[in-house]
Structures are given as C-alpha cells and as structure tokens.
Symmetry: C2
Subunit: 215 residues, 2 copies
Amino acid sequence: MTPIITAFESSPDRGRGLARDMRVRWALEEVGQPYEVRLVSFAQMKQPAHLALNPFGQIPTYEEGDLALFETGSIILHIAERHPGLLPGDANARARAITWMFAAVNTVEPPIVELSMASMLERDQPWHAQRLPALENNIRKRLRELSAHLADAEWLDGAFSAGDIMMANVLLRAKGSGLLEEHPNLIAYLARAETRPAYQRAFAAQLKVFKDANP
Amino acid sequence: MTPIITAFESSPDRGRGLARDMRVRWALEEVGQPYEVRLVSFAQMKQPAHLALNPFGQIPTYEEGDLALFETGSIILHIAERHPGLLPGDANARARAITWMFAAVNTVEPPIVELSMASMLERDQPWHAQRLPALENNIRKRLRELSAHLADAEWLDGAFSAGDIMMANVLLRAKGSGLLEEHPNLIAYLARAETRPAYQRAFAAQLKVFKDANP
C-alpha cells in the first residue's frame, strides 16, 4: 500500500528542505518506499479533514490504509520498523538510534526554532538585538555538545540511522547562521547527509513542489 | 537487571515533579519495574562520566547493563517495549501512542518551556511584559488544539499509554499558569493521571529526594 504524506502547497522556506516533510521523504527514499504527496494550503491545514490527521494542524501527516500518523519522529520510526536500513538490528544499538531521534527534536531543535521564530516575529522590536546573544548561546551550547559527541565519527552512533535523518534535518535549519559553521565536524556531518542519493531525491522532490507552485 | 536512572541531587523545581526523571519513574512504576537512582549535582552533570551517558549533560539517564540511554521519550519507549501496559498490542494503536510521545516533547512542551525560561531569565527586562502575551498565546494555541482532540475522552488515544505519561508530565509544567485552567477537560485529564497509584509512588519518590537534600 502506497503511503500518502501531506506537504505545504507552497512552503514558506521556498523549498530549502526545512519543511518537516523533507525528513519523511528522505526516510522513505532511504528504504525505497514509493509514496504519494497531498499538498495542503494553510487554510486547509486548519480544516477538520486535516485536523483529523493531525490535531495540531501541521504537516507532514502520514496515511497508510487505516493508519494515520503525525510527528516526523513517529512517522520515521514507523517506516524504520517496517523496512530494513534505518535502525540497527542489535537491540541496544536500536534503542540508542531512537534516543538520537528524540534528542534531535527535543534537545537540539527547540533553540534553533526559537531563534528562527524570534528573527521572523521580533525582528523589528527594539529589544531583538538584546535577546540575540542569549538565543545564539542556547544553540551554541547544544552544537558544542553535539560536536564533542560526534568527534571524528561518520554518524551519531555507528551506522547511519533514523537518528541521523532527524538530526541532520534539524541542523540544516542552522546552516548559514554562522553557528553551525563553528564546528567543522558538524558541517562535514551535514554534508555527508546531503550527498546521500536518497537525500538528494527527497530534496529535489520537495523543491519541485515549491517551483511548480511559484513558476 | 535493575536499571539505574540519574536525577538531580537537589531539583530546582523543589520536588514538584517537573524534573524529567519524574516521567521515567512513573513509567517504571506503571510496569512494576524496580529501579535505582543515582543523584548527580549540576557540577557532576558536566563531567565526562555523565557526558558519556548523555552528551547534553542532562538528567535523566538510564543504564541497564551495557545499555545507556538518555531522552525521556527514548527511555520510556524502551521500557514500554519490554513490559506490558504502556503500549497497545494493536500495531496501528501502538504507532499512534508513539505519535503522542513525540507530540508531547516536540509540539506541546517547547512553548511551555519557553515561557518558563523567559519568566526565569528575562523577568527583569523591561520588554518581558511585552513578550508575555505572545509566549502565552503560543501555549494557548497548543492547549486549545489538544483540548479539542481530547474532548470527553479519558486518555489521548484509547487506553492509557506511554503517550499519556509524556503528555501529562508536560502539562504539569503549565498547571497553575491559568492557561491549562482554560480547559476543564485538560485539567481533568491531568488529575486522572495524578491519581494513578504509579504516578503517586513516582511523585513521592522524587519529592523525598528533594526533602532529604533540603531538610
């Protein structure tokens, strides 16, 4: 059964891979699972039909027959449990890969999103400049810790896993901020992720959606 | 093998159940798994021995023989996979319960933590009052959506699950803010969680740690 995901009709990130469907597309490409995409407008995301799939009115959602899921971590874990390639076979290594999935969205992503939101919504406030150093330092702290953990390793914990999909996509949002660039090993980690053929297919697919909507 | 978790030597929340070990204690109590606790100071959390367990220097961590995990979502999922009672047997219902675990930490918790942090760190700034409505509205939006989803149900998706452990503990942090109190069904949901015997045992255990350290 071909799963159906939802994505922005016209993503506010202009197809830079920051919308959350990118992660799910990437996971599906890694395991070679074809999928369909249903595009939704911001208005549709607040309608009952979409809220029945995700009560928080966000994308992506994931439908597979009777099953409807939301939250990228949950969707990718579901995909990883049903296809080989995204979670190690060893039980302990598998549990650690799942740890990195949660660490990506619960520990590393929040300060990065907080800076994005402040830059969008508070840019014109006189105190924005005053808040900026603290916002950046919250990100610096997490990136420093992540960089120390990664050290010279290729991926976060042994072989490439769903944890790397989540973390690399979270780091993408910090790319170009100057903060990620303070850690050459994190830049190299993200570059390794971005050169994976599955990543490139997923990236091209989400970019095409934006370009088709904004010719 | 008895698992070992870490917790604050003296929790900054003064034993109100907001420290993240509460969730893990609760899950362990729900499944009847005895556990040991190693208390750590803030200084110890930044030392190599603790960073080897959690590169981000946070509590709780979870050790079980050779396995070391961090992130409450990952730890609780690990517990739930090894003991009956925290995840439904049906595959689709299980995937939905895991969705709620991610939704708790990735969608509902961030704005609640953001308000807590602003109230702690920016309270004396002249613009704190100016930011407050936006911070509160971010929480309001998520609670309104969650309340609409829950409606008259007892738990988030059928039977009580690990998703409810995560969500109820996230909501606890908003209790008394006036925001949670705008939704009687969420207040009742949290109260149902708090009256579970496993919750009460976990709560008493973490409170005792604080009281012992602050006689």
